[in-house]
């Protein structure tokens, strides 16, 4: 993909999570959709404010866990019954209770890896470059003690002058234009 040019969006900086939540809620009510908030720690109310209620991580985890369970149990059955049947004290080759333990461990292994890597994939990470890192106040703010609201240029309502005025009405610490 060719590098984009122009404006990525407008970034408003706030000092407290409360200010950010109020601004985000209002923007959502006013019809903004292409926007995101950036906080130094998880603030549940912010995700709610921009209308992000559900995510797919639990589903990915469930599928991963079931795959792990099936993979290990079938592997155990195949090995113990067909590939390499061993007579251990006359016990049946299909000793399913004994197979539960490794299958259980692999359920957790696959579910855990799916939860972690699924979360990263859904988040589009790793993404070492992002236009927001161009904003001078973003680094050392969004990861320390500042709260940001970004209205993105891809939103159909976006107009550089109007949007800037709109953000100013929330009395943020600053509003900066972010370039690609």
């Amino acid at each position: 993909m060719a590098p984009r040019e122009g404006t990525y969006g407008l970034l408003a900086e706030f000092d407290t999570p409360g200010d950010l939540i109020r601004a985000a809620q209002q923007a959502r009510l006013d019809g903004w959709r292409r926007m995101d908030c950036y906080t130094p720690y998880p603030v549940e109310e912010v995700a709610e404010a921009i209308g992000f209620h559900r995510n797919k991580v639990p589903l990915v985890t469930l599928i991963g866990g079931l795959m792990g369970l099936a993979a290990m149990f079938l592997l155990e059955v195949w090995i113990s019954v067909w590939a390499y049947p061993l007579n251990i004290g006359g016990r049946p080759t299909y000793s399913w209770p004994a197979f539960i333990v490794p299958a259980y461990e692999w359920t957790i292994l696959f579910a855990g890896l799916s939860a972690a890597f699924g979360m990263l994939a859904l988040n589009g990470l790793p993404a070492l470059y992002h236009p927001l890192f161009n904003a001078p106040n973003f680094c050392d703010g969004a990861t320390t003690d500042k709260f940001f609201l970004c209205l993105e240029a891809l939103d159909p309502k976006f107009d550089l002058v109007e949007a800037k005025k709109y953000l100013q009405s929330f009395q943020p610490v600053s509003v900066v234009e972010v370039e690609y």
Binding site: T16, I108, M119, H130, T143
Partner: protein, 470 residues
């Protein structure tokens, strides 16, 4: 007492408990405090001194293991009938230590115990380094470690496959899953903090390295929402995992018919013992760390106090386990069980049993009731060493004193560890310390993003109050 409550700023007047975080901390001050330890250009001399000592001790491990690979497990004290000596004792001891890290990071997260936030990162690091030390022992104990991959279900030209009805094989899956999930949980927990480190690093190399580790974390609200779900799920998965790992390890013993091993109390009693020793190790690490790096405002008396309470509770579960072993030796009316217990207490190695009783029961379970002692740092540090010693002897007692005099007197023997056994054991202590020192030097040892959620600034104030300047 009431006077003490009023005058001591470390106490929360509402609850009378010690505060989880000392008053007067802001987002920035907490971030500074934690990142400064890592991003400082000058490493404290004490760090080098400790690392030198730990590295030297770890070298003993290298020497011992090299000689082991050249000569074979005959250099150890293992023999018939005690074929499981130090290697398995140390394996169980180390993996048990690791369990407290998972307990703190996963179970206490699910129970919404906010106080865990300051200590969970280094407790998880402790878990991983303990698992590194633990995992080594079964591998070197097999005698031909270069064939360790035979334990895995991989298609070999020999057409030989593992035997899935053995608890020893269950161990392979339990411990490897535990190691992988612990590393993933630990790393995912650090990603936002790596973002902070990237943004605050001065040197180009640090910026680059932390930037790479942070995967480009930028704190988006959508990312945080998925991240929180993922953390909760990982915690929910790690909880049954940690309970299963030590249960499976206890099956290694409990499934055998040997008196002293063949008991159903083993799984819960092993898990409680693991948590008991693990919390002791967290204290051994936390008390010097908070002093050395001036983190008293983040790792407060409250943490030490609470960990003391957890140890008291798990200590009593362990005591119940010991009592039940003695009771069953009598109640089973089995001659072999009764002899095993008599031999364990009063036989030639009876001293080990009494060391265990003193270190695990007599000292901690009488003193941990006192809050004054629970918040006395010097006392808690010494106590943590005592409990770790006791827990090591517990595994020694279970393994050696059950094996060396079993059913047939003509096949009785004894066990004496050699210098290679001691070098290997002490060497892992050095390896563990060296890895931990590298961790505190290069990684944020307290999770900043989680601490921020507990600060007064994180409270969301309604608009009117915000305007009034509250």
């Amino acid at each position: 007492m009431a006077v003490e409550l009023k005058d001591n700023p470390k106490l929360d007047p509402a609850t009378g408990e010690y505060r989880v975080i000392a008053p007067g901390q802001s987002f920035r001050s907490v971030t500074e405090k934690i990142t400064r330890i890592v991003l400082t250009p000058t490493t404290p001399l004490g760090w080098f001194a400790l690392f030198g000592v730990a590295g030297a001790v770890a070298t003993a491990l290298l020497v011992a293991v090299t000689w082991l690979f050249l000569v074979g497990v005959g250099i150890w004290g293992i023999t018939q009938p005690v074929a499981w000596g130090f290697a398995i004792i140390n394996f169980v001891w180390w993996i048990g230590i690791g369990h407290a890290g998972t307990l703190i990071s996963a179970i206490l997260l699910l129970f919404k115990q906010g106080w865990r936030n300051s200590i969970n990162r280094f407790a998880e690091a402790m878990t991983i380094f303990a698992v590194v030390c633990a995992g080594m022992f079964p591998l070197i104990h097999v005698g031909r470690p270069w064939l360790a991959y035979w334990m895995l279900p991989v298609p070999l030209t020999m057409n030989v496959w593992p035997q899935f009805r053995s608890p020893l094989l269950w161990d392979v899956f339990a411990v490897s899953t535990y190691a992988i999930i612990s590393v993933v949980f630990w790393y995912i927990g650090m990603v936002p903090d790596f973002g902070t480190m990237r943004d605050r690093a001065e040197s180009k190399l640090a910026k680059y390295a932390y930037g790479l580790c942070s995967l480009g974390w930028r704190g988006s609200a959508r990312h945080w929402a998925r991240y929180e779900t993922s953390s909760l799920l990982l915690a929910g998965l790690a909880t049954p995992l940690v309970l299963s790992v030590h249960t499976v390890i206890s099956f290694d013993f409990a499934v055998a018919v040997l008196p002293g091993w063949h008991t159903t109390i083993f799984p819960p009693y092993f898990v409680a013992g693991a948590i008991y020793s693990g919390f002791a190790m967290v204290l051994t690490l936390a008390i010097p760390l908070r002093k050395f790096y001036h983190l008293e405002s983040l790792v407060t008396e409250r943490h030490i106090d609470n960990m003391g309470k957890v140890m008291l509770a798990t200590g009593f579960i362990v005591a119940y386990g010991y009592a039940m072993e003695v009771f069953m030796a009598w109640y089973s009316a089995s001659h072999w069980e009764a002899f095993m217990m008599w031999n364990r207490m009063f036989g030639p190695m009876g001293w080990a049993y009494w060391v265990l009783v003193t270190c695990n029961l007599a000292i901690p379970l009488t003193t941990l009731w006192s809050r004054k002692l629970r918040t006395n740092m010097a006392f808690m540090f010494l106590l943590s060493i005592v409990v770790n010693t006791g827990m090591w002897f517990e595994r020694f007692v279970i393994i050696v004193t059950s094996l060396y005099r079993d059913f047939l007197p003509s096949s009785w023997g004894t066990y004496r560890a050699t210098k290679w056994d001691y070098m290997t054991y002490v060497g892992t202590l050095g390896l563990f310390t060296a890895l931990f020192l590298l961790f505190v030097r290069f990684l944020p040892m307290i999770p900043m993003s989680e601490i921020r959620t507990m600060l007064p600034g994180a409270k969301i104030t309604p608009k009117k109050a915000a305007e009034a300047g509250d």
